[in-house]
C-alpha cells in the first residue's frame, strides 16, 4: 500500500541512509556537481555524498535546484 505522506515524514525525520557530506562541503562542491550533471557525467560517482545530502537538507537541495536551473538556462541560450 502506498503511504506517501508517512514515507516523506519519516524520510525527513530519519534522513538519508547512506553517507553524506555536510552543508559546507556541499557548498564547496555544488558548482562542480552541477556542471558535471549538465555535461551528462555521473556527478554522483564523481562527487560522492552530495546526492544523499540533498535528500537530507532541504536548503541545500533548493540551492542545487536553483543553480542547476540558472546554469542550464544559460547553456540553452
Amino acid at each position: 500500500m502506498e503511504r506517501p505522506d508517512l514515507k516523506q515524514a519519516l524520510g525527513r525525520l530519519l534522513g538519508p541512509a547512506g553517507p553524506e557530506v555536510g552543508c559546507e562541503a556541499c557548498f564547496e562542491e555544488l558548482d562542480r556537481y552541477v556542471e558535471l550533471e549538465l555535461a551528462g557525467k555521473d556527478a554522483d560517482a564523481l562527487v560522492p555524498g552530495l546526492r544523499a545530502h540533498f535528500d537530507g537538507c532541504p536548503a541545500c537541495r533548493e540551492e542545487h535546484e536553483s543553480l542547476r536551473a540558472l546554469v542550464s538556462g544559460e547553456q540553452a541560450l
Binding site: K7, L10, L14, F27, E29, P58
Partner: protein, 233 residues
C-alpha cells in the same frame, strides 16, 4: 534538454600568467581567465570588473527571487528587489574575499552564482519567517498517520510511531531534540533556526545528522524494519 557538449563549458587550456591563486588551478576555461585577470588587477580595470561581477551576481539573485516569488505573495516587488540587491552586495563581498579559492573546478560564473543564490535564498527564508515563532516542540504527529491502512499495517505503524516518539524523547540530547523537531518535524528552515539559536547551518546540520543516526540505530536495535516504510535497500 539534451546534455551539452564539452564545448559549452569553454575550451580548457593551461592557466599561465595569472595571480597565485589561479596559477595553482589545474585548468581554467577562457571565460574564467577573462573574469579573473581584471579582478586581480588594480585601478579602473579592477573597478570595472567588480561592477560587471556585481551585475552578474544581481542577475543570479533576481533569478532566485523570481523562483521563490510565488511562495511569497505578501512581499511587494520593491521589497523583493531590495532583497536581491542586498544578496548581490553580500555575495560580492564573499566572492572577492574568496577569489583565490577558485581553482577552476567549474566555470567562474557557475562558481560565483552559487554565492548569490545562497545569499538570496537565506534572506528570503529569513524574511518569510520574520516575526514568526520558531516551534521547537512537536506541533503534530498527524503527518505520520495514513488513513485506510489494513489492521496489521496500522498496528505496525502504531508500533513504529510509538518507538520513534519515545526515542526522540529519551535517546536524543535536549539540543538534538530541539533541532530535529524544529527542522524535520515542524519545517523550520535551517537558516532561520541557525539565526534564532545563534549558530550556523553547518553546525545545525551536524546536530541533525547525529540525531538521525541515533534514531536509526535505536529503531534498528528494536527490530523495526525501516526498509518497508522508507523503501530503502
Amino acid at each position: 534538454m539534451s546534455a551539452p557538449s564539452a564545448a559549452t563549458v569553454g575550451i580548457v587550456e593551461p592557466a599561465t600568467g595569472l595571480p597565485a591563486g589561479a596559477l595553482a588551478a589545474p585548468r581554467l576555461d577562457v571565460d574564467s581567465r577573462e573574469w579573473l585577470r581584471p579582478l586581480h588587477s588594480d585601478g579602473a580595470i579592477k573597478d570595472e570588473a567588480v561592477a560587471r561581477l556585481h551585475a552578474l551576481l544581481l542577475r543570479a539573485a533576481r533569478f532566485e527571487v523570481a523562483r521563490r516569488r510565488p511562495a511569497l505573495p505578501y512581499l511587494r516587488g520593491d521589497e523583493l528587489d531590495d532583497i536581491a540587491n542586498e544578496a548581490a552586495d553580500d555575495a560580492l563581498m564573499s566572492v572577492l574575499r574568496r577569489l583565490d579559492d577558485f581553482r577552476g573546478a567549474s566555470r567562474f560564473t557557475t562558481w560565483v552564482y552559487k554565492f548569490a543564490l545562497l545569499e538570496a535564498a537565506v534572506k528570503l527564508r529569513k524574511r518569510a519567517w520574520q516575526g514568526r515563532e520558531v516551534p521547537l516542540e512537536p506541533e503534530s504527529w498527524s503527518l505520520f498517520s495514513s488513513a485506510g491502512l489494513e489492521p496489521d499495517a496500522e498496528a505496525e505503524q502504531s508500533e513504529l510511531l510509538s518507538t520513534l516518539q519515545s526515542a526522540i524523547a529519551e535517546v536524543l540530547t535536549p539540543h538534538q531534540r530541539r533541532v530535529l523537531v524544529a527542522l524535520a518535524l515542524n519545517g523550520v528552515p535551517i537558516d532561520v533556526l541557525a539565526e534564532r539559536l545563534n549558530t550556523n547551518r553547518g553546525a545545525l546540520y551536524k546536530t541533525l545528522h547525529d540525531a538521525r543516526r541515533k534514531l536509526r540505530k535505536h529503531l534498528h536495535e528494536r527490530g523495526l524494519a525501516l526498509e518497508q516504510w522508507l523503501e530503502e535497500n
